[in-house]
């Protein structure tokens, strides 16, 4: 082989992978890259319906960060995310432990646990709203039947705090199936002989969970935690369906995703809507970066 042929071969080896990846990269650039750049561009302009208005620089960002409504929505989003992620992770872990217990009937129970996953979130949100209806809801009926008279006719959606509690319950309920099944799979990968050995050494079930099972499940738990956080931060449908007006009463359940929607599609302020979307993106980018770092540490 001549020197020229060898260098041509080296060049081909460098180019071919790029050529093979090109269709996918073009696809990604079209469906992710363009909308992303366009959103940044729009966030620097006034929005007028579907048209891009005048250039305003960072004004939308300044307005967004100084607006008390947005600040309150941000805090609410963080709290709702924390509550629903922790709540659903803990509940899913407990369910996964039960499903992994080897007791009879666990296969049937596993199917039942998966059922909420098959339900459209909007339909489930409407059902939860009915369940917490002040007059005809089953929750108030149950609580008042248990002697808690304060819940007789209690209006859950009358103030932001109780409305967000109901929304959080509905979100946790919807999240549990996926998390529980994923955790069950992780639990199954815990080596049985190690658990057996620990038990023979007198370790309690709690100690086995904390010292053996959870450390083995750690990589899966991290992935689930990050995915759940990203999903929770983008929660929208539950608030939109369950509160009146969406984000009410009187703005008290507004979260970032809903504000983004209202700005973009109710006020038709595409500029401010895009700026809010970029704020969500920035927060989630940090969460994702954290995830990548943790994964590297795991691998290292």
């Amino acid at each position: 082989m001549t020197v020229e042929a060898a260098s041509r071969r080296r060049l081909q080896l460098k180019i071919i992978p790029w050529l093979l990846m090109a269709p996918t990269m073009v696809g990604i650039a079209l469906v992710i890259g363009y909308p992303f750049v366009r959103t940044i561009w729009l966030s620097l302009h006034e929005g007028r319906g579907l048209r891009t208005g005048a250039w305003v620089g960072l004004d939308n960002y300044a307005d967004m960060l100084t607006d008390s409504g947005t600040q309150a929505a941000f805090v609410r989003t963080v709290i709702l995310t924390a509550v629903t992620v922790i709540g659903s992770m803990v509940a899913a872990l407990l369910i996964a432990l039960v499903l992994n217990s080897g007791l009879p009937g666990m296969k049937l129970l596993t199917i039942l646990v998966v059922l909420p996953w098959a339900m459209p979130r909007v339909s489930a949100a409407i059902l939860w709203k009915w369940a917490f209806d002040s007059q005809y809801g089953v929750v108030n009926w149950l609580l008042s039947s248990l002697g808690l008279d304060m819940f007789d006719g209690y209006g859950w959606f009358n103030n932001g705090t109780s409305a967000l509690i109901v929304v959080a319950i509905a979100i946790i309920w919807a999240k549990i199936p996926f998390l529980a099944i994923a955790m069950l799979a992780a639990l199954k990968s815990v080596p049985g002989d190690i658990v057996e050995a620990a038990r023979l050494d007198g370790a309690s079930a709690f100690k086995v969970l904390m010292r053996i099972k959870l450390p083995v499940m750690r990589p899966v738990l991290i992935v689930l935690f990050v995915l759940a956080t990203i999903q929770a931060f983008q929660a929208f449908d539950h608030i939109y369906v369950m509160t009146v007006p969406p984000g009410g009463p009187n703005h008290s359940t507004e979260i970032l995703s809903l504000l983004t929607y209202l700005e973009a599609f109710a006020f038709l302020e595409g500029g401010m809507g895009s700026a809010l979307a970029m704020l969500t993106f920035a927060v989630l980018a940090v969460v994702t970066a954290l995830y990548v770092r943790l994964q590297r540490e795991e691998a290292g």
Binding site: R48, G49, L50, R51, D133, S134, Q135, Y136, G153, G155, W156, F157, N158, N159, T243, V244, P245, P246, G247, G248, P249, N250, H251, L262, F265, A266, F267, L268, E269
Partner: protein, 425 residues
């Protein structure tokens, strides 16, 4: 023949075919296809609309209609996208609060209907919704409004007369509330999440939502009258406790359900809501009475008219055919099949008259809705009104008052600023 020669021959056949096809579509043979978007009325009523279209096609052999039923939360966005993309339908049934927005975008063709003629033929508030700068941009199609619905049996039992003013409503509702407390029946059906319950009260109190100054609208929701109207409605819940506390969040569906379940003694309901309540609880038919809405301190009982207009979009290539189709669709006989199905009225005065004499509104329970239709108004015809509605500002203001922690003046000032800002953009 070699493969490339075959390819060229095939391509030429294709091009010739395409050219032949183009000449057919260009309309030179007098044929036109009209895209029509109509709000999805449900599977039972779709054939009714389809028949109106088929009848038109039969009478106009060169016209083909491509009917599409639209609906859902993104309908407004669909229209915006279609207009921005230069491909709107030829004819559309457009909600009356959306009409000014699309007219101001210069997306609609002027209707072949003069303002004077329109006012003589159709409900005035519906004509207002289709008018901009003295020009009419759509034919009013259907109209729906609210009236005062009450339980005859409960009023009789408590010895209460049917109230004629809003002040009498408050007094009667308190008595009904007390008398029926043990049965959990609310004196008055408050709906904090439904702006059409309380925004029209501003008119009854002598105020306005906004006034036109020059070319633009200026919100007047901080006027003494508007404040008094909102305060009156909020206090039905906060001071008089005439409905369950949750009713601060009730929307029309909640209020309708409560009445159908026999848990409300009086309330403001639309004809289609009454139809739905009677379908849910047929035994209510003998217990319910309907009258026009009570009057406010200003002496009027005006309420909002909901409904739709039939519009022709400017980008339609076959404007004449489209206008002929609209004229065909608004003929009372072609409207009533649809309006009867959904429990609303035709927007034409002749259609209302016909419905009240021999149609579905001849029933004494529904006749008052036709009378009330003549006492209706339209919201400020500003293209940004949709934003005011969509933002939830009016509901948030009412809920702030119903929460009992917000001051009336600051709440109404804030609301006024929000509406003014929406108008100015």
């Amino acid at each position: 023949m070699t493969r490339w020669k075959l390819g060229i021959a095939a391509a030429m056949v294709g091009v010739m075919g395409a050219v032949a096809g183009c000449s057919g579509d260009s309309g030179s043979s007098g044929e036109s296809t009209l895209d029509v978007w109509f709000n999805d009325p449900g599977t039972e009523l779709q054939p009714v609309i389809q028949k109106v279209m088929t009848d038109f096609e039969a009478k106009n052999s060169g016209v083909k209609i491509n009917l599409r039923f639209v609906g859902g939360a993104d309908t407004h966005q669909n229209y915006l996208t279609a207009v921005a993309g230069g491909a709107p339908p030829c004819v559309a049934q457009l909600g009356n609060t959306w009409t000014p927005e699309f007219a101001s975008m210069d997306a609609l063709a002027e209707a072949d209907l003069k303002l004077d003629e329109a006012k003589q033929r159709f409900v005035g508030s519906m004509v207002d919704s289709a008018t901009m700068d003295g020009k009419v941009y759509g034919y009013p199609y259907n109209v729906g409004n609210r009236a005062f619905v009450y339980r005859k049996d409960l009023l009789e039992k408590s010895g209460v007369q049917v109230p004629k003013t809003w002040d009498e409503v408050a007094v009667a509702a308190k008595k009904l509330n007390e008398d029926n407390k043990k049965d959990g029946i609310a004196g008055f059906g408050i709906m904090g999440g439904e702006i059409w319950q309380y925004v029209p009260l501003v008119w009854n109190w002598g105020g306005d939502i906004a006034v036109k100054e020059g070319d633009s609208w200026k919100a007047t929701m901080n006027s003494t009258e508007a404040k008094a109207a909102f305060d009156w409605y909020a206090k039905l819940l906060t001071a008089d406790k005439l409905s369950p506390p949750d009713s601060a969040n009730w929307v029309a569906a909640d209020g309708t359900k409560a009445f159908a379940l026999g848990k409300v003694a009086m309330g403001i309901y639309a004809s289609f809501q009454l139809k739905s309540m009677l379908a849910q609880s047929p035994d209510l038919k003998d217990k319910v009475g309907v009258v026009e809405l009570p009057t406010g301190p200003a002496g009027n009982n005006d309420t909002f008219a909901g409904g739709s207009n039939l519009v022709v979009f400017k980008d339609c290539k076959y404007t004449e055919d489209a206008q002929a189709l609209v004229r065909h669709m608004v003929e009372p006989g072609n409207v009533t099949g649809y309006t009867r199905g959904i429990g609303m009225l035709p927007a034409s005065l002749a259609g209302i008259q016909e419905e009240q004499t021999s149609g579905s509104f001849a029933d004494p329970l529904f006749k008052p809705f036709g009378d009330q239709a003549k006492h209706t108004r339209y919201v400020p015809a500003d293209p940004s009104w949709g934003k005011v509605e969509g933002s939830g500002a009016l509901v948030n203001a009412m809920q702030a008052l119903m929460g009992g922690k917000s001051d009336l003046n600051s709440t109404m000032d804030k609301l006024n600023t929000e509406i003014t800002e929406a108008f100015s953009k």
